[in-house]
């Protein structure tokens, strides 16, 4: 009974160890990919700096208002691991919003507008109309200002940026996605390590129990 339990524990320990090695292998591969992508990003950024000028691609160019275009979702799994996944705000969604804003402005004013209104109407309606027209004019700039915060970071460095800066951006976008995968893998590795430690302890306890039982038998 005890011996079979020990064998089972040894087998599960072996399986976990193999899994652990595989995870380390995948981590190494992803790390290599991440490092080469970062290098590529720096290289293309340096190219852009060479063509744009030294001070055109530096921290001084960062916008005063920033909103993230990418976020990461951390989901706790049943086995205790945490899965990180990135989500990106696409520019197409933004442009759709923009189009809707422009279309919404027109149809809000229904009916035919009279340019030469009688004096009475103006004085009567003047008080009622003013606030609503002010609201309409105020509402649109606020929306536009909100939208402008989420602009493409490429525009911080100029309107017509060189292709190399765009390449640097796409390299770093890939790095961000890869870093979420690596973060997931890192937490999985630490969890597997903890599981291995626990099963190792369990195995030692079983071994001690069996050797004690064998000693008892020998004494009897």
């Amino acid at each position: 009974m005890g011996v079979s339990e020990l064998e089972e524990s040894c087998l599960s320990l072996d399986e976990k160890l193999l899994g652990f090695m595989e995870q380390l292998d995948v981590l190494e591969q992803k790390r290599a990919a991440l490092n080469s992508l970062i290098e590529q990003g720096w290289f293309t950024m340096s190219k852009a700096r060479y063509s744009m000028g030294n001070k055109q691609v530096c921290a001084l160019q960062y916008a005063s208002e920033m909103e993230p275009l990418v976020c990461v979702h951390a989901r706790k799994l049943d086995d205790g691991n945490v899965e990180f996944s990135t989500e990106r705000v696409t520019q197409s969604k933004e442009s759709e919003k923009d189009v809707r804003l422009i279309e919404d402005i027109g149809p809000q004013e229904k009916g035919v507008r009279r340019r030469n209104k009688p004096q009475k109407d103006i004085t009567e309606k003047g008080a009622n109309d003013k606030p609503s027209s002010e609201k309409a004019t105020e509402a649109t700039p606020v929306k536009q200002r909100d939208h402008s915060h989420q602009q493409d970071p490429l525009k911080w460095f100029g309107i017509l940026v060189p292709q190399s800066l765009k390449q640097a951006q796409s390299a770093f976008k890939q790095v961000i996605e890869l870093s979420a995968e690596i973060a997931t893998l890192q937490t999985a590795i630490l969890n597997t390590k903890q599981e291995l430690r626990n099963s190792m302890k369990h195995k030692h306890v079983l071994q001690e129990e069996i050797s004690a039982a064998q000693l008892d038998k020998a004494v009897n």
Binding site: E67, V70, H73, M200
Partner: protein, 119 residues
């Protein structure tokens, strides 16, 4: 901001921060606190450590990316962080290539194969 996801924070040299901000991770919150720190020659270790700890304390940050040579300066603070969220990732910098033997996660994993474990 997409959904209610978490942010990615960066502590690194100018090029690393610029690259990741180009990627779209940058945020200045209502208190105008950024989710990045550009480490320059005159940036003190205390400032780096305080920023790292403030990132750990913020619940809207999911991943912290840090240049490995900067991580070396505040190794004790990184080793003390045991939670899975935020995850800390060490990345290479222009002058200092990535060294796996210095990575705190891999060192923890390596600790698995100490003589004590195979007693």
């Amino acid at each position: 901001m997409a959904g209610r996801g978490k942010l990615i924070a960066v502590i690194g040299d100018e090029d690393t921060c610029t690259g990741f901000l180009l990627g779209g991770i940058g945020e200045l919150n209502k208190n105008r606190k950024p989710n990045f720190l550009v480490v320059e020659k005159d940036t003190s270790i205390t400032e780096i450590e305080e920023t790292f700890k403030s990132f750990l304390a913020r619940n809207d940050i999911g991943i912290i990316l840090i240049n490995q040579f900067i991580a070396e300066m505040i190794r004790h603070a990184i080793d003390a962080h045991m939670q899975s969220i935020p995850a800390v990732l060490e990345i290479p910098s222009k002058e200092h290539p990535y060294d796996a033997s210095k990575d705190s996660i891999l060192r923890r994993a390596k600790g698995m194969f100490s003589a004590d474990d195979f007693r």
